[in-house]
Amino acid sequence: MTSTKKDPVLVVLQLSGGNDGLNTIIPYTNPLYNDNRPAVRVPDDQVLQINDTIGFNPAMAPMKRLYDEGKLAIIQGIGYPSPSRSHFRSMDIWHTCEPEKVGDEGWLGRTISELDPTKENVLTGVNFGRGLPRAMAAPGVPVASVGNLESYGVLTGIEIEEQRAKALDVFSRVYSPMIGQGPVLDYFAHTGLDALKGADILSTAPESYSSTIEYGADSVAQYMRNIAQVHLANLGTRVMYTTAPYNSFDTHAGELANHTKLWSETSNAVADFYDDLKEHNASDNVVLLVFTEFGRRVHDNGSGTDHGAAGVAFVIGDAVKGGLYGEYPSLEANKLNEGDLAFNNDFRGLYATLLEKWMGLDSKPIINGSFEQMAYL
């Protein structure tokens, strides 16, 4: 870890739908890969080799470059016991760290609460996208949720600027007097004024930003750009989150074409984000986690792949010790879990590492227990 006085920042990119780990980090020399993927296989001569057994999907050259620079850790065989093949349930488990019962507090919501217990900064946690992911939700923790940074704010539908300014002025003047008018109104007043304040501050981020990096037009790239803008604006934001479009990685059909496009966009967005921060000398205090709710079935279905279990995650940043972590799960039939890869790395260990070694927090209360940390930080 580089020595720095800057506060560590954690960025999370969620790949919704269940990314096919086998076609992401590909065991291209394993005959069982060929046997199990008669239709949905990346030809071995196209794989971007990491070593003589595995390599990146050919659409992932920008991330391969980060790997070669030693900035990218590949967390193999990641998952949890008794895997759920339901998108919602499995994503909930990743969000709440509650594989047994259904939980409603997110691990990052708790993280934000630990980082800023007195709620001094309404922008300690910012989500990019519509609707707050459960990972970021915890009672009483303010989190801004930004659909579009350029137009984020209260009453943004009012197009005439003068009119909107007037409406916002009225807004703040009718919310302020509700402070102290009983617990519910007091809470609403603070929430409304926090939202207004957060929006005011956030709206300054794009204005002060300039960069030579040209991000893609897809939503992941645009949100990664927004995250860079907010980070570079020095607003004290410590946790940022965004998600790939809902279930986009759910490649039941037409996987080869879809998956190539998804990784081409995602991989470019990730590398552009890193390069953007680098260009501004602001990459040393940021770590990016890229995860998905599960991997996919080992055997293809003729056109795509169905829901599976263990998958692959990535951690990227200057502070990260690039390389391979965990074991590549066995493809041997007798080692599979109902046709799916078995995990050997608990995702809560991945979180514990980020929380303890990067954010400097006690991870136990956040992830509900002690889990073995990894060496990537």
Partner: protein, 468 residues
């Protein structure tokens, strides 16, 4: 100021339905309060929505729709139904008898469940519970299909008691023991569903409830102090007659229709906010043989209800549906339903996909800095669109008062049109300053339309408007 009858009717329609336009409120007020209560409680007296129309515009609603398709369909029904309480009671039961898309083999199974809520939701509570125990979505969601005579799974047995009927306790006492949970689960062994047919190549089929007597534990059971060879039906009969059940259902009705209560897990040790009202609902429950419709008649006609205006925070569903009814958008199932209906999710209530088996935390917990911005912006955009037929009607109505109107007429008129809302003095004064800030208010002009839209936008952004 709207007269008292209109204000009361606006309150009734917000609570028993999803709000109404001012024109509808006037017509209903002329008809009388009790007559309106009777009409609401008799949904079958009103026409159903035209299924043909829905199918023509949105064929996916009746086929293999996923979560969002099912959400669109329900949102459309809530906006356009002539039987508002039928949809409202379905929402009420969905918020209690939770099933989730995350654990549903076939999305349409939940819509089938909601049809049961519509059909039986105002009837006898024991009948509704019998239906729920045999509802394939519920049997699968709470694992009763995994409960066998030699290996019980307690999930359904526990939640039936804890979340669906009597709650863990009342007046500081517990309502049942862990042994009761086990005996309850034993009685429901063999209550299962048909195997789901593999999805490919023909798509999914709905599951059916079946009773597998070979997997039922016929042994003697002691449940809540009564011993016998109980089967599931017997358990529900015992559950329905418990004082704890009368209390729990009464409190839920109060919390949903009258005023926000503490969150459900606190009910064992927290007395009801209005013990008299709860007592009268409990009495009606027993007097009528557990009849929900009769309880609601008592509730809607009570002074406690009539005096409870603006004591509840609107849910995301009530916010989105109420806004669409007000502005008159999506009165046909036109394209764009998905983008509109998703706002309910953005505001924190992903219908058919609740966060936990406890459903959603309600009241003030609907609001956080993310959901508040979603709520205000969605509502303000809708009421600020002067092209919407509902907003046009408001403009015509306010404009009909003369060639010019006073700032008071503009502010109070807008409040009336939104459903006889009331503002704190300090808020109303700000609105009056806003109304005065652009000079004389001349009706019949484009500028007038904009000023009405602007006033409506500022009002719906207030804390007062968060309440129903």
């Amino acid at each position: 100021m709207a007269d008292k009858e209109i204000a009361l009717m606006a309150h009734l329609m917000r609570r028993a339905g999803f709000g109404a336009t001012f024109g509808e409120l006037e017509a209903r007020a002329a008809n009388g309060y009790e007559a309106t209560v009777d009409e609401l409680l008799d949904p079958e007296g009103q026409p159903e929505l035209e299924r043909d129309l829905m199918m023509r515009y949105q064929p996916q609603w009746v086929s293999q729709a996923g979560l969002e398709g099912q959400q669109e369909e329900w949102t459309y029904r809530m906006i356009n139904t002539k039987r508002p309480l039928e949809e409202k009671i379905a929402l009420f039961w969905h918020q209690i008898f939770v099933t989730g898309h995350a654990k549903c083999e076939y999305p349409k199974q939940q819509t089938i469940e909601f049809d049961m809520f519509r059909r039986d939701g105002l009837g006898k509570f024991d009948n509704l519970l019998q239906g729920l125990a045999k509802d394939p979505a519920m049997v699968f969601y709470l694992d009763n299909c995994m409960s066998h005579k030699d290996a019980i799974n307690e999930n359904w047995g526990r939640e039936l008691l804890e979340l669906f009927s009597m709650g863990v306790g009342m007046d500081g006492q517990i309502n049942y023991t862990e042994d009761d949970v086990k005996e309850c689960a034993r009685a429901f062994t063999g209550w299962t569903v048909t195997n789901s047919i593999p999805r490919y190549p023909y798509g999914k089929y709905e599951a059916k409830f079946i009773y597998d007597s070979g997997d039922h534990d016929f042994g003697e059971k002691t449940f809540l102090g009564e011993t016998g060879n109980w089967n599931g039906e017997d358990i529900i009969n015992i559950v329905a007659k418990q004082p704890g059940t009368a209390r729990f259902i009464s409190r839920h009705l109060y919390n949903f229709f009258v005023a926000d209560e503490p969150q459900v897990p606190a009910w064992q040790d927290t007395a009801p906010g209005d013990p008299e009202m709860i007592k009268s609902l409990e009495d009606e429950y027993f007097r009528t043989g557990y009849d929900i419709r009769s309880m609601l008649r008592v509730l809607f006609n009570s002074d406690a209800f009539k005096n409870a205006r603006f004591t509840k925070v609107k849910s995301p569903t009530e916010t989105v549906v109420g806004t669409m009814r007000l502005v008159g958008d999506f009165s046909i199932p036109k394209p764009g339903m998905n983008a509109m209906a998703l706002n309910i999710r953005y505001m924190g209530q992903d219908l058919m996909n609740p966060p936990t088996v406890e459903g959603w935390h309600t009241g003030r917990e609907w609001i956080d800095s993310g959901t508040l911005v979603e709520r205000i912006n969605f509502t303000a955009d809708a009421v600020g669109n002067t092209g919407h037929p509902g907003i046009q009607a408001i403009i015509r109505r306010l404009g009909s008062q003369g060639p010019t109107i006073t700032p008071e007429q503009l502010v109070d008129g807008c409040l009336d049109m939104l459903g006889a809302y009331e503002l704190a003095d300090v808020t109303r004064n700000e609105m009056l300053s806003l109304a005065r800030s652009e000079g004389e208010i001349r009706t019949g002009t484009k500028e007038f339309e904009d000023r009405v839209g602007q006033m409506l936008q500022s009002i719906v952004a207030t804390t007062e408007y968060l309440f129903a």
